[in-house]
């Protein structure tokens, strides 16, 4: 227990996904000295990497669950703080649509559940009303209801904002630090990581897809098991975003919300996710046949998608468990809180989860008198962007209109990008239709020696020794 002062913290948060980021923010604003321990070279590298980027109201969550409580609180808090952090909110609303008689018969109970969950502004719609709201929708639709509060957000700038606010108010981030073990004695934790040991009064396990593994490594047991559930998505190019105003949801089944068709904050249209159980926690493989199935599904909902192009594809893993609800539990005897099983609603619920965790931690809050509020770069297609401002250094990524200044900014500061994936999430470079055809060379020059995990492989990223034939 003689770790250096600089490795001693009040709270250690394990895992820098959206949930860990929000928890770090909460404890920091409550006056604690916080460290976030992340095994990857950059944050948001696990489950938070790929989701449907919707801020859910919780209208269809199980009544009385921890999940619905955290979602509702998370929803409220996001709307409360987002302007101070310069985070976008597109209040598109959602339509829950029935495509057959059976689904039609389920609508009343879904609307009842929405009311029970405190989402009282849902509004039943006739087929004609729906088609009037969404003229590009297939005429096969039979009925549905509108949930005005469902919204679109930027899934990454929100999480980055939570963590950056923590960092700018004194928290620390340790990357490339995988937890290998730990012990609790005399009321304090000592945690061993591949990036060195740290000491903390309270440990919060927000390790997502590896939550049960971290439990095992620290406490020798885990009370739940992660059962990864893969979600694949296809993303259409920007012209397709004009085809749907609302988030288009199917009637959910017991296990999944089903396949959503909606715009993104970046002005694209996405179709997904699938829900596929798998053992592997590291690899989310895209599958051609499944993607073709998503495209077919999308065209069933919006026939005009047939003439639009898919320009991005991705797959994410949800940290589901054997049970449906979140698995949040505190062991006050050991100052240990496990935040597990935050499956598909983590983005919406993160701020609510953070408050809930702070509450059950038993730690006394001494709120910072005047915390710093960082301003996030605005990447939302429906807001003013940097390319519209003077002095932006010119557009580098031509498809997503990402400027030189935006890329430079993303590589500096306490939350500088640590990998190409991280740079993409912070700026959207190469995420557009050309997938790097135009800007890869420029990006390789700009990022050389500046990303922990370089864009070009180190082994062959050296100069070829030939003359430059241009410039």
């Amino acid at each position: 227990m003689n770790a250096d002062r600089e490795n001693v913290f009040d709270v250690a948060v394990i895992g820098a996904g959206v949930v860990g980021c929000a928890i770090a923010r909460r404890f920091t604003l409550d006056g604690a000295r916080v460290v976030v321990v992340e095994k990857a070279a950059d944050v948001l590298d696990g489950a938070s990497k790929g989701n449907s980027a919707i801020l859910h109201t919780g209208f269809d969550a199980p009544e009385g669950s921890v999940e619905v409580r955290c979602m509702k609180e998370g929803y409220r808090l996001y709307r409360e703080i987002r302007q101070r952090l310069n985070l976008p909110l597109i209040e598109s609303g959602a339509l829950v649509l029935a495509w057959n008689r059976e689904q039609l018969s389920e609508l009343p109970s879904l609307m009842e559940r929405a009311h029970a969950n405190g989402v009282t502004d849902v509004e039943e719609l006739s087929r004609a009303q729906i088609l009037k709201l969404e003229p590009n929708l297939s005429e096969q639709v039979m009925g549905g209801f509108r949930v005005p509060g469902e919204s679109l957000i930027d899934p990454w700038s929100s999480a980055h904002a939570y963590l950056l606010q923590a960092l700018e108010n004194g928290a620390e981030l340790r990357r490339n630090s995988e937890v290998t073990g730990g012990s609790f004695s005399n009321g304090r934790w000592r945690i061993e990581t591949t990036g060195g040991a740290i000491e903390a009064g309270t440990v919060v396990n927000a390790a997502g897809l590896f939550g049960d593994v971290v439990d095992q490594r620290l406490t020798g047991k885990s009370w739940y098991q992660i059962r990864p559930r893969k979600g694949q998505f296809v993303v259409y190019d920007k012209p397709a975003a004009a085809l749907a105003d609302h988030i288009l949801l199917p009637v959910p089944t017991k296990t999944t919300k089903g396949i959503v068709v909606c715009r993104t904050a970046f002005g694209n249209l996405l179709v997904g996710p699938t829900a596929e159980e798998q053992e592997d926690r590291n690899h989310a493989l895209l599958d051609r046949e499944t993607m073709l199935g998503l495209i077919a599904k999308g065209e069933e909902v919006i026939p005009a998608l047939r003439s639009h192009e898919v320009t991005a594809i991705y797959a994410g893993l949800r940290p589901a468990t054997e049970e449906k609800d979140y698995r949040i539990r505190s062991d006050l005897a050991e100052n240990y809180i496990c935040v597990g099983g935050i499956r598909s609603t983590g983005l919406s619920a993160a701020l609510g989860i953070a408050d809930h965790v702070a509450e059950i931690s038993g730690r006394e809050a001494r709120p910072l008198a005047d915390p710093v509020w960082p301003q996030m770069p605005m990447l939302c297609e429906y807001e003013s962007r940097d390319w519209q401002e003077a002095g932006n250094g010119g557009v580098v990524c031509l498809c997503e209109l990402v400027t030189r200044r935006e890329i430079e900014n993303a590589m500096t500061g306490p939350l500088a990008a640590g990998s190409m994936g991280g740079l993409k999430r912070r700026t959207r470079v190469t995420m557009g239709r050309c997938q790097g055809f135009h800007c890869s060379a420029e990006l390789a020059r700009m990022t050389e020696g500046r990303l922990g995990q370089p864009m070009l492989a180190q082994t062959c990223g050296k100069k070829t020794g030939r003359e430059k034939t241009s410039q």
Binding site: L285, L286, D287, R288, E309, A390, R433, F437, R466
Partner: protein, 419 residues
């Protein structure tokens, strides 16, 4: 979204006679010709840091035979095109990305100094092509580093002098795949295989010899099913005759599958052709109901730089005629493509003919499979042009257009009668 309106607010519009969107071979040659014909102020907006277009990235031969009667490397060729346009008096503005085009000639663009607006008498779209990405091809697997379009590979090798990988797989066998092969050779990269989903190379058959000469196995009838690897590419999974196998590789070059880069046309509400996916033009290069024209590879998946250069030159004549009120009325109707192997026709719209030099004297077509027969342009049940065809897929087929046609005589239909 950022749709331009011709009555839009914002910065005061700067005036120009012709604004050209895109500074590749087509745009540069149009600019030079426009200046020579006395079209007035001609401004090229190029989004890259230098004008010249795709040839800038192709540090190999042969370019320029048609234009300069010499065999040049891509970058030298690009420099000559830029020099010629500039010398003729064109104003080339780089790092200028067009964000919206109004039907009546209002062009919004962004620069390092912020957004700008031009008001032109005519606008020419010459935005070229891009390769079909791994995502658009729905190739499964993971998303590690080392998956590059040819354009990106060439930028990294020729502009940066770097090697992104050492043992990649090349996907595709269009001409650009061979350009990728030569780029690899230049950089000391040793491709482990060249993979083509079709049964024969898309480029001329002799090109099969090039990978062989370089010791690169050429696998036809082989699809790439997945790319594996978490941080870097580790494996490329291929499918051949229903059997899956994998190739150890540290990268993949996803080449070809060129498609028009017509996004700004789509988001600006200009007419886009469902066959070519480029702006839909008539034989003078005009986009319906606007003062906009289009030329070069944005019209259709890829032609050579030389071809685009001559298209650009010819559309310049049509633009000058339009500005002087000498073009016939834009009364074009769409050419319907009948059942069969024809995938696209450019121009896909035909207006009244004229003695003024049309930008397109021929209808260009492509097939989606090898086919033999007769192609006929019909109007009101009568054949107005025809020729025999024996072609591989994706090759250019030309059909001379009659000079004195008029859409008022009935609807146009393009028919392929197989032998």
């Amino acid at each position: 979204m950022n749709a331009a309106s011709d009555t839009g607010k914002g910065p005061q519009a700067e005036r120009a006679d012709v604004v050209i969107v895109g500074g590749g071979p087509a745009g540069l040659s149009a600019a030079r010709e426009l200046r020579r014909l006395g079209a007035g102020t001609v401004i090229i907006l190029e989004r890259d840091r230098e004008a010249g277009g795709i040839p800038r990235h192709c540090g190999h031969y042969p370019f320029g035979m048609r234009e300069f009667k010499r065999v040049l490397r891509g970058p030298d060729y690009a420099r000559r095109l830029v020099g010629a346009a500039r010398k003729a008096g064109a104003d080339i503005r780089t790092q200028s990305t067009v964000t919206a085009i109004g039907r009546q000639g209002r062009v919004e663009y962004t620069t390092p100094e912020g957004p700008m607006v031009l008001q032109a008498r005519a606008v020419l779209l010459a935005t070229g092509v891009r390769e079909t990405s791994r995502a658009s091809r729905l190739i499964g697997g993971e998303k590690p580093g080392g998956i590059l379009p040819t354009g990106a590979l060439q930028g990294i090798v020729y502009l940066n002098g770097e090697r992104p990988f050492s043992r990649p797989v090349i996907l595709g066998s269009e001409l650009v795949a061979f350009s990728a092969l030569m780029t690899c050779r230049h950089a000391g990269i040793r491709p482990v295989a060249m993979v083509e989903p079709g049964v024969r190379p898309s480029a001329f058959s002799l090109s099969r010899l090039l990978p062989l000469a370089m010791g690169v196995p050429y696998l036809s009838g082989t699809a790439v099913q997945a790319v594996l690897g978490r941080e870097r590419v580790e494996e490329v999974v291929i499918l051949h005759d229903g059997d899956t196998s994998s190739i150890v590789a540290d990268g993949i070059i996803v080449s070809g599958g060129f498609r028009p880069e017509a996004t700004v046309a789509v988001t600006s509400g200009l007419a886009v052709d469902p066959g070519s996916r480029g702006p839909q033009i008539d034989q003078f290069g005009r986009i319906e109901d606007s003062v906009c024209f289009a030329t070069g590879n944005v019209l259709r998946g890829v032609e050579t730089s030389g071809w685009c250069w001559s298209e650009g030159r010819r559309v310049a004549h049509a633009i000058v005629a339009a500005i002087r009120g000498q073009l016939p009325e834009d009364n074009g109707t769409t050419v319907q493509i009948g059942e069969g192997p024809i995938t696209l026709a450019v121009p896909a719209r035909l207006s009244n003919g004229s003695d003024a030099v049309p930008a397109h004297t021929h209808l260009q077509m492509r097939l989606d499979r090898p086919a033999r027969g007769v192609v006929q342009l019909m109007q009101a049940g009568k054949v107005i042009a025809s020729r025999s065809v024996n072609s591989l897929p994706d090759r250019r087929i030309l059909l001379r257009l009659p000079g004195n046609m008029s859409p008022t005589n009935g609807a146009f239909e393009l028919v392929f009668r197989e032998a």
